[in-house]
Symmetry: C2
Subunit: 256 residues, 2 copies
DNA sequence: CGAACCCTTGAGTCGGTTCAAAGCAGGTGG
DNA sequence: CCACCTGCTTTGAACCGACTCAAGGGTTCG
């Protein structure tokens, strides 16, 4: 993985492609399997067509490339079509905090609406494809289509709720609980996308998990080993199988 | 302070008052000193009048009362007119995590848009007044007034950015850094509202600060004493004076 | 004026970090 | 196709920052 931090953001440094400039691919929103997870959830056929016209589809982002960097001007939001990404905020002194991991259907860039500049780095952890949604057009369209407006608000609010959950995790859970909650969250998100909820690949390193959970990579490794010894999971490198999901759930809601 | 957790939410259990039912008070948005911090920032006179018609002003919330409880149906957002509040998320096992403290001009209830139900408890830490903004009307009006729409989006995004900052704090700062960052944040917010940035009252208890910062109340007390011994602050009960703001700033951006 | 709540401080403990070393996997170039 | 090399992971031992438990004093508000 080329993790050179000098690499400029792939997409935001280019001007936003105009929808008419690029050939339409078959994967329009109306035919997209992620539709009900993504921005156009709940729209009717005519509204979907309007959204289709707005979206620049299937922009590739290579593993190790940034979708955008902190400080870049907001032009578009991005929906992940395929792949896996992480967002992280940088402290002035260089410390990095992973703020979230993203997968298909997730809408990225919401942090940039506040100031018009992205406030975090978002990096592809595997080769990915994103749909680009010019933000100005989205605002315009959501004035015309109430159900689009409503769903966009819900998505922003959902991100706030997710953040509260992360605060709870970081502020009041112990290492084992944090990791259990993390695995259950991944499990549930894979399930919602039609993948196995009990066996999947961790796309991120132990260090990235640790950064997200406020722990060191050695702690992640130790707790995973411990879970394995207890028969809660089977770990083999990045591959993980949840062997006893109920025990994990008990761990999370356990009294300290 | 009556902290009886059985008390139902003050406002959300009542039906939303219709704007025509209540007499208009003088404190319309157009005359409100918080206008530029609050929802109607950047609107012109005519747009302000439209917003004025939507808002139910000056609903009192007594110290110790809940503005809303987790699980309550979303009817309205609330803007704090005067006072001070905290929001907290509850873990199933009873652990509480304070997710934020709110003061005049802050817009509350954004977490509830996601599911239509509030996801946290919000409680007044001192006698307060809020302006009630029926959410359905806000969505409608923000379709008509682009600059209102834009500003509402910015406010939601700003909350997401704030949350990322809290994650950074909880995930990668040590106790002293967390408390320094907390004090600087309060200082900056008071300054933005025209109050002293160097001397103010902590409206919350040490325990609530601790919950927010992922620390125990004893740690808060110890670190405050330590800051005082170092000449960074002067503490006398809830009253705090920042004696060396540069030293606090250095602390926050310090290499570990 | 009393009672409940809040705050401070000390001593001992512990969960997670730090530092260190070794093993492993996957990708690259010869 | 194999060997190397780099980055990732595991595990151990020692350490330390924050927690726990406990006691005492202070403040606030009904």
């Amino acid at each position: 993985m080329s993790k050179n931090p000098q690499i400029p953001a792939l997409v935001t440094t280019q001007p936003c492609l105009s929808p008419v400039d690029i050939p339409k691919l078959q994967s329009v929103c109306s035919a997209c399997s992620l539709r009900e997870l993504c921005l156009p959830a709940g729209l009717d056929t005519k509204e979907l067509a309007q959204v289709d016209r707005m979206v620049n589809r299937r922009q590739p982002v290579k593993r190790g490339d940034y979708l955008y960097r902190a400080g870049a001007t907001l032009r578009s939001l991005f929906a992940i079509r395929t792949g896996f990404m992480k967002s992280s905020v940088l402290h002035e002194d260089g410390r990095e905090q992973v703020a979230g991991f993203h997968m298909m259907g997730d809408l990225l860039g919401l942090d940039a609406i506040s100031t018009g500049q992205h406030m975090c780095d978002t990096l592809a952890l595997e080769d990915s494809e994103v749909c680009e949604i010019p933000f100005a057009v989205l605002e315009e369209l959501s004035r015309e289509i109430p159900s689009l407006q409503q769903h966009f608000h819900r998505i922003m609010s959902r991100e706030i709720v997710r953040d509260y959950g992360v605060m709870l995790l970081l502020g009041s859970m112990r290492a084992e609980e944090r990791l259990a909650a993390f695995l259950l969250n991944l499990s549930q998100r894979f399930a919602a996308r039609g993948y196995s909820s009990l066996e999947f690949n961790l796309r991120m390193t132990r260090e990235e998990i640790g950064s997200f959970l406020g722990l060191k990579l050695e702690t992640i490794s130790r707790v995973l080993s411990h879970f394995q010894n207890e028969g809660l999971v089977e770990v083999r490198n990045k591959r993980i199988r949840i062997a006893n999901i109920d025990a994990l759930r008990t761990l999370v809601s356990q009294q300290t």
